[in-house]
């Protein structure tokens, strides 16, 4: 199944919680450098899909391949070390340490000492990488602030900084603009696009805000009640009657 340029392949993945089928036979292929979005109404199974890819859930059936390696069922830390980083829908940072220390602990995860004996006495210098990230997200002036004191929008950016600091190949963004104002959303969308292309990242994005997805994605898959009902380029999705129905309800005659 291995093909050049395929970063992530989700192959007929199902996940049920008891009698509830959160995902049924979902397949998708994400190419290198793509921004691939997964959309769908609340409860469509988007977050479950992410949790399966990032290692929080083991799929009930099906396979998940990351760069030709089967990652289904591996621990989150192992999947992260292979090059998949995830941001969270609900801000998930280290609240009572400084912004810089947040990014530092993420960035030092990739240094040579990490997980080895010398890490007990050495403090690797990740200043440059951390400072770059903070600058890119406009957080440089806040580096010594306690993370919990940042505004909501800034915390969302810090969330992305943490994931990026682990130098991923594939970035999973779970509703990165959740809770942002329309203005902030627009700015964040542009920023994500720009950083993804600058770093050569492949991005898998979950959104329910259609305006975000349409502007940023190369390809879009639509989930509805755990099933993939459509996939294609943004303009195809926009005009797909099944998608319109899933979002707006069946047409009234």
């Amino acid at each position: 199944m291995a093909r050049d340029g395929v970063v992530l392949e989700v192959d007929t993945v199902s996940k049920s919680f008891g009698a509830l089928a959160a995902l049924s036979n979902v397949s998708l292929v994400v190419q290198a450098g793509q921004i691939f979005s997964v959309i769908g109404p609340n409860g469509a199974g988007k977050s479950t899909l992410f949790n399966v890819v990032s290692g929080l859930h083991v799929p009930t059936t099906g396979r998940v391949r990351f760069r030709d390696r089967d990652i289904a069922g591996l621990a989150p830390e192992t999947i992260n070390r292979l090059g998949v980083a995830k941001t969270f829908q609900i801000t998930n940072i280290f609240p009572e340490i400084s912004v810089f220390e947040n990014v530092r602990v993420a960035a030092q995860s990739r240094v040579r000492e990490s997980g080895r004996l010398p890490s007990l006495w050495r403090l690797p210098d990740v200043e440059a990488a951390a400072a770059d990230l903070l600058r890119a997200f406009g957080l440089a002036a806040k580096r010594d602030e306690m993370a919990e004191n940042l505004s909501h929008g800034e915390q969302r950016y810090l969330e992305i900084c943490l994931a990026l600091a682990t130098e991923p190949t594939l970035l999973l963004l779970d509703e990165p603009t959740a809770g942002m104002t329309p203005g902030e959303t627009k700015e964040a969308t542009a920023l994500i696009r720009q950083i993804a292309s600058a770093r050569g990242l492949t991005v898998l994005l979950i959104e329910h805000d259609m305006s975000v997805v349409m502007g940023i994605s190369d390809r879009i898959a639509v989930l509805h009640f755990g099933e993939k009902i459509a996939e294609g380029a943004p303009e195809e999705i926009r005009s797909d009657p099944k998608v319109v129905e899933a979002y707006l309800g069946p047409p009234e005659d």
Partner: protein, 316 residues
């Protein structure tokens, strides 16, 4: 921690080193000072878990007690080398800590605390109710350990300097540890362990490692105890002792290292002073502790902050 040894730290160490030559230091006070520094160092080791990693161990008395027994068993049998005692304590405590930390770190919060407590109670019960190591009397009347050749640590002053060196080395080790790569991960685990996993850290391995380090430092402290008291008894590992260790950390200030040293010393001195006046000293101590927890939630070291000092808690 970019600053070099601050002048304040130098003053503190010089004063501690000069303590035995002060005119009012009787043998009794020297032994009291020994206890203050010993329990200060143990509280500091526990702070690695509680203050830095957010793990509350309720079983540190077992590490302390096992260290003391390891040492006493050798001394009783005429193996009086201090180094042998320390090495044996590291082996015994290390083995036990490996088991405890492996199982305890699979659980979080109160379950972690309870597992450490239960393991410690098993050890206590074993030493208390089997006659192998003297039952409830423990091992009594052991000879003092020897540093090199015939040099025995047999006076309160020698014991005091021994414990001062131990405190200094343990402090240095802890200080290096918490400012290292490893220490930063510990703080991240305290702050948000799930997130730390998604950044590629095998959280359980880090927790096990810090438990082992804390346990070994505590066990080494325990190994010095028979040299001062000539005994090791099961009472050293009673669960109330574990509770006292936690209180020492709380009084001193979580996540500061120096705070728990002060907390441990304060607790020992307070207990000694109050109990010399009244029998119901625990009530007095309890009241003092309640006062500290309610009105000085950042511990004794929090006073520095009120006086315009540095931030009280390790930022990472």
């Amino acid at each position: 921690m970019s600053r070099a040894l601050s002048w304040r730290a130098v003053v503190v160490w010089v004063l501690l080193a000069a303590l035995p030559v002060l005119p009012f230091m009787s043998k009794f006070y020297l032994l009291l000072a020994f206890d203050a520094l010993l329990f200060g160092a143990i509280a500091m080791s526990l702070d690695l878990l509680i203050g830095y990693t957010g793990l509350v161990s309720f079983g540190h008395a077992a590490f302390f007690g096992l260290g003391a027994y390891a040492s006493a068993v050798l001394l009783e049998r005429g193996i009086v080398s201090l180094w042998a005692c320390l090495l044996f304590a590291v082996l015994v405590v290390g083995l036990y800590a490996l088991v405890v930390s492996y199982f305890s770190t699979t659980r979080r919060g109160i379950y972690f605390a309870l597992l450490t407590l239960i393991f410690a109670e098993v050890v206590y019960t074993f030493f208390r109710y089997t006659q192998t190591f003297g039952g409830s009397d423990g091992i009594q009347g052991v000879p003092p350990p020897r540093l090199v050749g015939g040099f025995a640590i047999d006076t309160p002053m020698r014991n005091y300097y021994l414990v001062l060196v131990y405190l200094g080395l343990a402090y240095l080790a802890c200080r290096v540890l918490v400012t290292s790569h490893f220490g930063k991960v510990l703080v991240a685990i305290r702050e948000n362990e799930d997130r730390a996993r998604f950044l590629g850290y095998n959280v359980q391995r880090y927790k096990m490692a810090v438990c082992m380090i804390s346990a070994l430092l505590t066990g080494l402290g325990g190994a010095l105890y028979p040299g001062r008291s000539a005994f090791a008894t099961p009472d050293l590992m009673l669960w109330t002792v574990s509770g006292e260790f936690i209180i020492m950390v709380m009084i001193g200030g979580l996540g500061t290292l120096a705070g728990p040293v002060v907390g441990g010393a304060f607790f020992v001195l307070l207990q000694e002073k109050v109990s010399s006046y009244v029998d119901w000293y625990f009530i007095v101590i309890g009241l003092v502790l309640i006062f500290i927890v309610l009105f000085m939630p950042k511990g004794l070291l929090g006073i520095r902050e009120l006086l315009g000092g540095r931030r009280w808690r390790a930022t990472a």
